[in-house]
């Protein structure tokens, strides 16, 4: 008995010291280096709802990425067939992801050969048909190809968004995949969430397309553009209202070049007659390609298209070497800088949409912390006073257990770098009210045993023993509901579930284990003739 009480007391003391050490980083601003070298430096992190910041869930429109890919395959297939001299073939994209190929039946075998050797990832969507000397094929991407495209689109989007946020400059952002096709972004302490969202969400697909000056623009708008052409509108500056569609252009649908060759993008400040512009610097391959394109199309207009808006369409005066191009528009300096960030970081493989956004300003966060702390202090004080009034000596013991529980709860949150949210704080407050449950059960039981005529010592023994099953059962049920909550919840709610579950564990330890050490010590020293309960 003597040994066991001492051992338990030592274990408990060590636990308290460890808890205090774990809590130091959270409550002390800057730590000396000898501390960070040898002792834990992790602290309780504040959730976005407490420190302010933006929580975004983006949906990646992967179907769009797959359609784009099919469109690319269509181009490749047309080119390869032309190179191999398979004539009379027409390839069109139908129903989103199906390629419809018509070919003279005489060439059908050669087409099959090309498909087998160069386009093994295409599978038949429908069985081919032959009628009147023409064969029709319906092809689509294989399941594996689709899946890998999907994954690629998400991964690439994540990577691009991460790049953009890095360049935008946010400290400790969280960018991760959520579910099948969503991306979760958390930007703590961000000052200008609107601007961040624009930078994150811009597809930034840069294309160079030739303007077809032979086509009649009004006619194309009214009756649809001629084959292989499309109608694009000019870029409206930020100052002008949405919907102010400026000039329309008829351009060739096939881009001559895209933004993948961009090595760098720089802001050029405003000059006399025009606003700020963004200068593109192409890599070596891009520079060669650009030179070829400009050489082949002198005197034609080349539209610089970003996300399907024509920013400018200058006439190519001569072949342009050196790999530099510039995008002009009605930019102010900030807009030009944001544009340069997205161009440097690369295009998103598919458009994204904001499914969920929660932005909290820093002032609300600090108000919430203040309110949370006040209600915690007031609430737990009420409980402490009540317990002393009701149980006297045993109430003091239960209150000590409560304080230790709070200490351990916070220490565990710090040790696991848990994120404290506003509902999380509410959870800590609530648990303070629930923590005394185990002690109430034990104390009520001890009172009963005393009334039944037992001596204090055996009453305590019996009280602990009989209360135990109920304590376990009640805490298991609450814990289970916490686990379900964790499964269900998003950010802030998860914070509540975590404090609830951890809090239940610590209350059981302090209320049962710790108070028992005290009573056993009293029993051991023989002073347990009378107890205050």
């Amino acid at each position: 008995m003597r040994q066991s009480v001492l051992t338990r007391a030592v274990i408990f003391a060590i636990a308290i010291i460890a808890a205090l050490i774990y809590l130091v980083p959270t409550f002390v601003g800057s730590l000396p280096s000898w501390w960070t070298n040898f002792l834990p430096a992790d602290r309780i992190n504040l959730g976005l709802d407490l420190q302010g910041g933006s929580h975004l869930v983006l949906g990646v429109k992967v179907d769009k990425a797959i359609e784009n890919n099919i469109e690319r395959v269509r181009g490749d297939l047309t080119n390869v067939l032309r190179e191999k001299g398979v004539s009379g073939v027409n390839v069109e994209r139908v129903e989103g992801t199906v390629l419809h190929i018509t070919v003279p039946s005489t060439n059908a075998e050669r087409l099959r050969g090309v498909l087998k050797s160069d386009f093994a990832y295409l599978v038949e969507a429908k069985s081919p048909q032959t009628s009147g000397g023409t064969s029709e094929f319906f092809l689509t991407l294989s399941k594996e190809e689709m899946r890998s495209l999907r994954d690629y689109a998400i991964d690439q989007s994540l990577e691009t968004i991460r790049n953009r946020i890095d360049q935008f400059g946010v400290s400790e952002p969280i960018i991760q995949r959520e579910g099948q096709e969503n991306i979760l972004i958390q930007l703590p302490g961000i000052q200008d969430p609107e601007r961040a969202k624009e930078i994150i969400g811009k597809t930034a697909l840069l294309e160079f397309k030739l303007v077809d000056d032979t086509a009649n623009v009004e006619d194309a708008i009214k009756n649809g553009p001629p084959p292989g052409r499309q109608v694009l509108y000019g870029h409206a500056g930020r100052g002008e209202g949405v919907g102010n569609e400026k000039q329309a252009y008829v351009v060739e649908s096939r881009p001559l070049m895209t933004g993948e060759y961009i090595q760098d993008a720089r802001v050029r400040p405003a000059q006399q007659l025009q606003g700020a512009s963004v200068e593109l610097i192409l890599n070596a391959a891009g520079a060669r390609l650009f030179e070829q394109i400009t050489a082949a199309n002198v005197k034609r207009r080349l539209a610089i298209v970003l996300d399907n808006r024509v920013y400018s369409a200058p006439v190519i005066q001569e072949r342009i070497g050196g790999g530099r191009a510039s995008i002009t528009g009605n930019f102010d300096l900030k807009e030009a800088r944001d544009l340069s960030i997205v161009l440097r970081a690369g295009a998103l493989p598919a458009p994204v949409e904001i499914l969920e956004e929660r932005t909290v300003g820093p002032s609300l966060g600090s108000d919430s912390i203040r309110d949370g702390v006040i209600s915690f202090v007031v609430g737990s004080s009420l409980v402490i006073v009540f317990m002393i009034m009701y149980y006297r000596g045993a109430g003091v013991i239960a209150d000590c257990a409560l304080l230790f529980h709070i200490l351990f709860l916070l220490a565990i949150l710090a040790a696991f770098k848990a994120v404290l949210t506003l509902p999380g704080i509410a959870g800590i407050v609530l648990i303070a009210g629930m923590a005394v449950d185990a002690n109430v059960l034990i104390n009520e039981r001890i009172r009963e045993e005393l009334r039944a005529g037992r001596a204090p010592r055996s009453a305590i023994e019996a009280g602990f023993q009989h209360a135990m099953p109920a304590i376990i059962d009640t805490n298991v049920t609450t814990f289970l509901s916490g686990v379900i909550l964790f499964q269900f919840g998003t950010g802030p709610i998860k914070g509540f579930a975590v404090t609830l579950c951890v809090g239940i564990l610590t209350t059981v330890v302090t209320a049962v284990y710790m108070t028992r050490i005290y009573y056993d010590y009293r029993a051991m020293t023989g002073k347990l003739k009378k107890i205050s309960i």
Partner: protein, 312 residues
């Protein structure tokens, strides 16, 4: 100090018919309320946008409505928020931004025109798309149902089937009463409310566990007593524990409700109602269900404790 004098014997089970009748009416009323008036859904579940605004000078709701004008985002609901005189308002919009960041910018622009750049602050803005909203709604409802069933199964495994059934019926009662109170008090249902409902489920089952535990113990101890008598004795013996633990929880919840701020208030309210209801339902719902189950016509000789009840 003692709240409940030892030896207290309130014949709770005698009132069970009245209690069950009243509770059935109340629950039915909640169900009717749920399907007619319906819960007020927050943006988490309904989708849409909510912005919390704080003004540096007193303003009125019509002034804000005027300043905002037509936002092109469906109905605009503006309401007071936070403490009296804090000049805080919630603006609810039916729709989310069609384009990135558009709505927040628009609100800012329009308010700046009216109140000047430093006259107000957008403290919080939350937007949830309709798809996410309906997903969350389903997940939330299922998690509450799953938790309730899980509690029943746990008690079934730890005690007996009839206690598990009693607990489930009592929990359904608590959840319904809480939902009804939230609807009547015009609080919005959002994710924190689901958290509150799950906590109510986890906490309110505790009382049932305590009573069951005592019933099991008394079954072994007191052989010559009807089940009704044993349940009554057990409820009385555990009554002070039930009142004290719920009481301490209610103390902290009152602190949260009064001092915890506007975001936490509905959460604290739901827990307060749910915890009160939990005490009531343990005494007046769970126990009668056990008795009714025991006295159901299929089995006959069960008015006294048979072998089956003490097989453990």
């Amino acid at each position: 100090m003692e709240l409940i004098k030892p030896g207290t014997r309130i014949p709770f089970t005698r009132y069970r018919y009245v209690a069950v009748a009243i509770s059935s009416v109340v629950n039915l009323a909640v169900l009717i309320l749920l399907f007619t008036k319906g819960p007020l859904l927050g943006v988490d579940f309904a989708g849409g946008t909510v912005a919390q605004l704080k003004f540096s000078k007193p303003v009125t709701i019509p002034e804000i409505r005027n300043a905002l004008g037509e936002l092109g985002a469906g109905d605009t609901v503006i309401q007071d928020f936070g403490q009296q005189g804090s000049n805080e308002f919630l603006v609810r919009l039916q729709r989310t931004s069609t384009q990135l960041g558009e709505l927040g910018e628009l609100i800012k622009e329009k308010l700046t025109k009216q109140f000047g750049g430093g006259g107000f602050e957008i403290r919080r803005i939350e937007s949830v798309g309709p798809k996410v909203g309906s997903e969350l709604r389903q997940k939330g409802a299922w998690s509450v149902i799953a938790a309730t069933i899980m509690m029943g199964v746990y008690i079934w495994l730890r005690f007996e089937l009839r206690f598990g059934l009693g607990a489930v019926v009592a929990l359904i009662h608590d959840v319904l009463v809480t939902i009804g109170a939230l609807i009547l008090a015009n609080y919005e249902f959002d994710l924190t409310i689901i958290a509150a409902l799950l906590t109510v489920v986890g906490f309110s089952v505790n009382d049932t566990v305590i009573v069951c535990d005592r019933v099991r113990e008394n079954m072994r101890k007191i052989k010559r007593e009807s089940l009704e008598g044993i349940i009554n004795t057990s409820i009385n013996e555990t009554l002070s524990r039930t009142i004290i633990t719920t009481g301490t929880a209610i103390l902290v919840l009152l602190a949260l409700f009064v001092l915890g701020g506007g975001v936490i208030r509905p959460f604290a309210f739901a827990l307060l109602v749910g915890f009160f209801s939990g005490v009531y339902s343990t005494i007046f719902i769970a126990s009668p269900v056990v008795l009714f189950w025991e006295k159901r016509p299929v089995r006959k000789s069960t008015s006294t404790i048979g072998v089956s009840a003490i097989k453990k």
